[in-house]
């Protein structure tokens, strides 16, 4: 009997690999912690997020020596906890009643359905997974109708995309303040403060359906498909693929991320595409392109790129990936370089105020000491965490790269003067993808 055969024996059908399961638990803690806002943000939210980060570090250090394989029941309890938090997460401002009710019904049903999942076998488990995935995808699209969004992020992205569609440079327009001066976070952008690729991704949806959030909503089904296909290509046990899918669709704030217009689902899709390509065409140009598009979507994803080069770097594929990322920036730079750079570097150069309502240890530290953590600490933390994680994980291949990327980003978010649930949505997704890669069947000797 080969090692592969041994891992597929009937007796192990309801146990899952220790390191992969622990990484998935870290994802659950980060997702739950970063979904808690308001009164419990500092007393529960940040501690739980930090616990998830600590567990991820522990997995990085100990790998499969963490513990014995996890029983499936332990992971379904975590899924149930995710659903419970989703059930009581307050509705976004300006949500219509039917949407709030639909979201509550989804999470309430999920608490029961994850138990049905645990009790079922093969096809039954797949049916439960698909039912919840389809419902979650439906909620993503419903969010575009069910939440009237007024945040500046949405206003800026819509305005920039509409400008691009009219042939106006998107970094030369100003977005209307939909909150009529109701909020001031210490710095009011004078230029679109995100990356060009986000405008390019938003524009077709604005032209077609009048709201880029429909495009963001498409990310979940694409991510699910890529994750599942990637998992199968890696020869991951079908039950673990289903558990990872459920963990993704039961993110307590997943629907709100789309409803608010955050762009992180695009990063999650790019990372899933990376896993899919890494599983099907390892170390090819496609995986490099998918991974190196991350900083072209969000400025904070710097260390993962360096980690990619260190873990899986090949000069030719990196060149292709860098060229793809530059291709998303170059047209607007050539069109008008100064406003494009002003926008891309806005968060680096603007005098951003410390946000006491951040999901971060820096906010807890401020609440206790009234001392603001300098912005540079987040940059240093990302670099130091990436270096330390690389040192520990460099022999762990695909799951090591994803885990190191997650650790480096989460470390920087936790000490950042501004860090919010959308950041952790992506950091958490990297943990989830790492767990999927770590669950691959051992290669026969």
């Amino acid at each position: 009997m080969t090692i592969v055969d041994a891992t597929r024996s009937p007796s192990s059908a309801d146990t899952l690999p220790a390191a992969a399961s622990a990484t998935l638990a870290a994802y659950a803690l980060v997702s739950i912690g970063s979904s808690l806002h308001g009164d419990v943000l500092l007393v529960l939210g940040v501690p739980l997020t930090t616990a998830g980060f600590a567990l991820a570090c522990l997995v990085a250090r100990r790998g499969d020596r963490c513990s014995a394989p996890w029983p499936l029941g332990r992971l379904t309890m975590l899924l149930s906890a995710l659903a419970a938090v989703g059930l009581v997460t307050p509705a976004l401002d300006d949500s219509v009643r039917w949407f709030t009710v639909a979201t509550r019904i989804f999470f309430a049903a999920a608490i029961v359905l994850v138990a049905v999942f645990e009790g079922a076998r093969g096809a039954g488990r797949r049916r439960v997974t698909m039912a919840l995935a389809i419902a979650a995808v439906a909620l993503q699209f419903a969010a575009c109708f069910g939440v009237h969004v007024t945040v500046d992020l949405w206003s800026w992205t819509e305005t920039a995309a509409r400008a691009l569609l009219r042939g106006i440079h998107p970094y030369t327009v100003r977005a209307p303040d939909l909150q009529h001066g109701g909020f001031d976070f210490g710095s009011t952008p004078t230029v679109y403060p995100y990356m060009p690729l986000t405008v390019i991704a938003a524009a077709p949806w604005v032209a077609w359906l009048g709201d880029y959030r429909f495009g963001v909503a498409c990310c979940l089904p694409i991510t699910i498909a890529l994750m599942r296909r990637g998992g199968r290509a890696l020869d991951v046990d079908a039950t673990f693929i289903d558990v990872a899918t459920l963990a993704l669709v039961l993110h307590p704030f997943g629907t709100s991320i789309t409803a608010t217009g955050y762009m992180e689902p695009l990063l999650v899709t790019a990372a899933s595409a990376f896993v899919f390509f890494a599983a099907t065409v390892p170390r090819g140009s496609a995986e490099a392109t998918a991974f190196l598009l991350l900083p072209a979507l969000k400025q904070y994803a710097i260390a993962p790129v360096l980690l990619y080069a260190a873990f899986r770097g090949r000069a030719r594929t990196i060149a292709v990936g860098v060229a793809a990322a530059l291709a998303s920036v170059a047209p607007l730079l050539l069109w008008r370089w100064r406003p494009t750079l002003d926008g891309m570097l806005y968060f680096v150069r603007a005098p951003l105020a410390f946000r006491t309502d951040s999901d971060s240890l820096a906010a807890v530290f401020f609440a206790i000491t009234r001392i603001e953590t300098p912005r540079a600490v987040a940059v240093v933390a990302q670099a130091v965490a990436a270096a330390a994680a690389y040192r520990t994980l460099r022999d762990r291949g695909l799951d090591g790269l994803l885990l190191a990327s997650a650790i480096s980003l989460l470390a920087s978010f936790l000490v950042a003067p501004q860090a919010f649930t959308n950041y952790y949505y992506f950091g958490g997704a990297l943990l989830l993808l790492s767990s999927l890669a770590a669950a691959r069947a051992p290669v026969a000797a």
């Binding site: 739950i32 007393v43 379904t76 309890m77 138990a115 049905v116 009790g119």
Partner: protein, 130 residues
Amino acid sequence: MRRAIVRSLAAAAATLLVLGAGHVMYNAAFCQRHQRWVRVTERHDPVIRDDGYAFARTGDAIYACSSPDRLGPALAWHEDLDCYCAPAVMGAEAVGRLLNGQCTVDHLAPTRQDETGACRHAHCARHLDP
């Protein structure tokens, strides 16, 4: 299957208990609105709020409101005190009804330069709309 359902429901209930405990802990030890109430009513500080990210919008008045902080419909923990932005046309009574508390108008036409009153520089805890 029944065991799995019981376990899942127990996990959800335990999660909600932890969240509930977090709320109780916050209210018992860290409730900022109650701390404002203590500061103003017991230590006679004239300023309720002079910080935060929410500001009065055009047409908003700022209302200083005290309201009981409740755990469920029956049990009132303590009194809260904070500043709220709401349309000037609403009036203090209507804003008080929204919060189940009592409000007074602090500034009818607040500005970021306000150095007087209990709610300074147009700061408020949040916006209330009818």
